[in-house]
């Protein structure tokens, strides 16, 4: 078990190093640098030259890479030029917002997906089964940005029941008590989370349905059925429990998909999270911020996968022994 963990962690580190190198290469090989970005105010050439020097941007590429790796190794994520503060501070502000979106999305899409999958498996072949699978696949096929856009159009513009964008009601927020804060925040979460859940629950439902159908054919279920145990008890106690195991693996796989979906959802709903800040930072060639936020995103995925592997190993005695 410990060896498994150590091995996976080492692999994870290797993956992160590849990611860091990749993003570095991607950014530095592209035309422009943070100081060629000027939209409204112009930075004087001598000022730009000064800062280029401070941030090693005037050195050859290998030296910059060494500079970057050295600071990464020290745990220093660098200084964001477009936001004018340390990247660490920015991430402290923005990462929790994405995590919040993600964890709610993950939780709800699993709740909805598993419920749908169980329902479909139990009503296999009926209209409910077909209808539920069809609708789920319909949302699954929807481009995430377009789904978000349509949700905003319908539920924030045509029927103004939810806020259009942002994380809080900036006007009234300072006067709120804690519960009003919570309600306000939840209201802002509804549309983005809905978009994420609609996108991902189809895959989970399909997986759960298949797992249930597999489990139904297992011997002990057949035995239980032969003993005259009622169908709903079988479904709850025997089939569902057995079918839940693969869900852990699935959670690890869904995470990257949710993170990807969250990027566009954040952009459409102006949710100031990781995707939002990464997209903005790429536009302003903010090297430190882009590399760090990509690194954090992939670290999330890597950690998620390792966690899923470990959980699986803990839950499944066959793997645990190995």
């Amino acid at each position: 078990m410990r060896r498994l963990l150590a091995g996976r962690l080492l692999q994870g580190l290797a993956v992160l190093w590849v990611v860091a190198t990749l993003t570095f290469a991607l950014l530095h090989l592209a035309p422009g640098d943070p100081y060629s970005y000027q939209s409204d105010r112009r930075v004087a050439p001598e000022v730009a030259a000064h800062w280029r020097h401070v941030y090693c941007l005037d050195r050859p590429l290998p030296a910059q890479y060494a500079c970057y790796l050295a600071s990464l190794a020290r745990g220093d994520l660098g200084f964001s030029i477009s936001q004018s503060r340390p990247v660490r501070d920015i991430l402290i502000d923005y990462v929790p917002r994405t995590l919040e979106l993600m964890s709610l999305g993950l939780l709800l899409s699993f709740a909805v997906g598993i419920a749908l999958g169980v329902l479909e498996a139990r009503r296999r072949g009926t209209f409910a089964d077909w209808g539920s699978r069809g609708i789920a696949l319909f949302f699954y096929s929807m481009p995430d940005f377009w789904l978000a856009l349509m949700l905003a159009l319908v539920f924030a513009y045509w029927l103004p029941i939810f806020p259009i964008s942002g994380i809080e009601n900036v006007i009234a927020a300072p006067t709120y008590g804690w519960w009003q804060h919570a309600v306000d925040h939840l209201r802002h979460l509804v549309l983005p989370v809905t978009a994420l859940v609609l996108m991902t629950c189809a895959g989970i439902a399909r997986f759960q349905r298949a797992a249930m159908l597999d489990a139904i054919q297992l011997e002990f279920v057949v035995t239980a059925r032969a003993k005259g145990v009622s169908e709903s008890v079988i479904a709850r106690h025997h089939v569902l429990r057995n079918a839940l195991l693969p869900i852990i693996t699935l959670a690890g796989l869904t995470l990257p998909m949710l993170l990807g979906g969250a990027v566009l959802v954040e952009l459409v709903f102006s949710w100031p999270g990781m995707g939002f800040i990464t997209a903005t930072a790429v536009g302003s060639r903010d090297y430190a911020l882009v590399t760090s936020s990509v690194l954090v995103t992939s670290a999330l995925v890597v950690v998620g996968t390792i966690a899923a592997d470990l959980l699986y190993a803990l839950a499944d005695p066959r793997v645990r022994a190995a």
Partner: protein, 556 residues
């Protein structure tokens, strides 16, 4: 199972029901101006801030010694308004100016503003380790000294028409007692940057990054309490999201509207559109050098071809399609807000037939594919358009169509700002859709269009426009001893530039702001509409609804 599956629905319904109240910005008891804009601020310490959001927030938190007046005069000290300094005296030889601070002025922590703060701020803005964008503008100043606790004296290397402007209005004064212990190089990470304390009309309240910045009125402000109680900058991430916030009542001010938005605002019961002058001109810049510096550009190296292409563009139609018929057409790389502007300047007319005739005369013969050719080279070029600017993209599509009618084929290349600037600096482009913010100082035109700027490389004059006649006139304009002579010379230089058609001058920035009907803006200055935010007010009852575009008070 049944009940459980209803719970989310019930929760959603509850959440939906909870909203709806307190959505309108203006009905909250303390009057609140909610400015919605796309980008978050970067740094609230003025020498370190580089974006416009920070500039707006910085302007209500910190003061300058003096402010440019509404006439936007920048030569001498005529029309300048007192701000932190309530008066100033020139030395007899004009080589120094003494600013007398308002003795009532104080920092929001209670400490009075002193001349030593001015000395400190000057040092900070010129420090190499700070890298303030204002720094280069202060180059004409030799030193700043405090002659007594409320008098700061600026000493100059030489006399110039803009010496008052540079000394009095370029930098904001910062609290030395709070900052002087921070080394220059670690100023960027100082806690002060995110919790600033200034001497301006508003006090900093909070900054939720990526979401909102809030300031509140300082009732002890030395020039009187500002009228609006709170100002919030609500960060929307994109112009579209900002617009939706304005329409939904989550904000009551947005600085620029698009044409369709203006039409929408006319129908909205609680919003009005207000026009104000701007300092931005938009134009299609021709690169007169071929890519990679191999002699003149095959198409744009020819002055007549540039003129013909300019004449092929129906600028009035293009501009009114994307904006509206009242948007000002640009005459040259300057705006109507400048004192050197003259509406009677010459301009190239829209004349498709003469444009075609000129092209024909210059050897560009129409080919079978509808594109002109000259010696095997097609009349084809690409236009760099920043992908983030919807209006420029829309107008580029219209221009493409207009060029097609005279046999020129234009390809549109969407690029982002860094790539665009990078490629322009490397002369790797044919034409670029530029938007330039004009300096309040007319002399900026020399830096942008002179032959020496072209030779120097860098971000100025990337189109390599070069005309000795223009250089001579502009030099004499900048060096003129009296404002009157200067203005006459500037106008001669403008006429030369327009005749050479180094660019197709399209329009002056769209500057129609959208705001709640009860928001009463003070004068909105062309170079910074937010200059007089402290004088704005929000009425109690909704003011008379204006269906059409109103004019900001006191503008022309």
């Amino acid at each position: 199972m049944r009940i459980a599956s209803c719970i989310p629905a019930i929760l959603l319904a509850l959440l939906a029901a909870c909203g709806g109240s307190d959505r309108s910005a203006s009905t909250a008891r303390p009057t609140t101006l909610v400015i919605t804009l796309p980008a978050d601020a970067d740094n609230l310490l003025p020498p370190l801030s580089t974006n416009e959001t920070s500039a707006q927030v910085g302007a209500v938190l910190f003061e300058k010694l003096a402010e440019v007046g509404d006439s936007l005069n920048v030569v001498g000290d005529e029309g300048f308004r007192p701000s932190l300094a309530d008066s100033w005296t020139w030395a007899p030889d004009s080589l120094s100016i003494a600013f007398h601070l308002d003795p009532k002025a104080h920092w929001q922590d209670g400490v009075p503003v002193r001349a030593s703060d001015v000395v400190y701020s000057y040092r900070l803005n010129t420090s190499k380790d700070v890298g303030s964008a204002v720094g280069p503008l202060l180059a004409g100043i030799d030193s700043v000294t405090a002659s007594d606790s409320v008098t700061a004296v600026f000493w100059f290397h030489a006399r110039s028409l803009e010496q008052f402007l540079n000394a009095g209005t370029q930098m904001r004064v910062l609290p030395a007692h709070l900052l002087q212990n921070v080394p220059d190089s670690s100023l960027k990470t100082a806690p002060f940057d995110r919790h600033p304390i200034g001497s301006g009309p508003y006090k900093f309240v909070r900054w939720v990054s990526g979401s909102a910045i809030e300031v509140s009125a300082d009732s002890t402000f030395h020039r009187g309490r500002p009228k609006i109680d709170r100002i919030i900058w609500s960060i929307a991430g994109s112009p579209d999201a900002a617009m939706l916030r304005l329409f939904s009542g989550e904000a009551n001010f947005m600085e620029t509207l698009r044409k369709q938005d203006i039409e929408q605002i006319g129908k909205h019961p609680n919003l009005k559109a207000v026009r104000y002058p701007s300092m931005t001109v938009f134009y299609v810049l021709f690169s007169e050098r071929s890519r990679g510096w191999h002699g003149p550009h095959p198409v744009f190296g020819d002055r007549d071809v540039r003129r013909a292409l300019t004449m092929a563009v129906d600028r009035r139609r293009a501009v009114s399609t994307v904006f509206d018929s009242s948007t000002l057409l640009a005459l040259g790389p300057f705006t109507s807000a400048l004192s050197t502007y003259d509406p009677a300047l010459p301009r190239l007319p829209f004349a498709r037939d003469s444009a075609a005739a000129i092209l024909e005369r210059r050897g560009w013969v129409m080919g079978k594919d509808g594109v002109r050719h000259k010696g095997g080279i097609p009349l084809r070029f690409s236009l760099l358009v920043p992908g983030t600017s919807t209006q420029r993209q829309q107008m580029a599509v219209l221009l493409q169509d207009m060029f097609k009618h005279v046999g020129a084929r234009m390809d549109i290349e969407h690029v982002d700002f860094p790539t665009m600037n990078d490629r322009m600096e490397k002369h790797d482009y044919d034409a670029a859709f530029e938007g330039m913010t004009v300096d309040a100082t007319p002399s900026g035109i020399r830096q942008e269009w002179s032959t020496s700027a072209a030779r120097a490389g860098g971000p100025s004059n990337t189109g390599y426009y070069s005309n000795p006649a223009f250089d001579v006139v502009i030099d004499s304009a900048v060096g003129a001893s009296s404002p009157k002579v200067a203005i006459a010379q500037y106008r001669r230089a403008y006429a030369t530039l327009i005749g050479d058609a180094p660019a197709i001058w399209l329009y002056e920035g769209t500057t129609v702001a959208g705001m709640g009907t009860d928001v009463h803006p003070a004068h909105m200055r062309a170079d910074m509409w937010w200059a007089h935010l402290a004088d704005w007010s929000i009425g109690d009852g909704p003011a008379a609804r204006s269906a059409s575009v109103a004019l900001a008070a006191g503008t022309h």
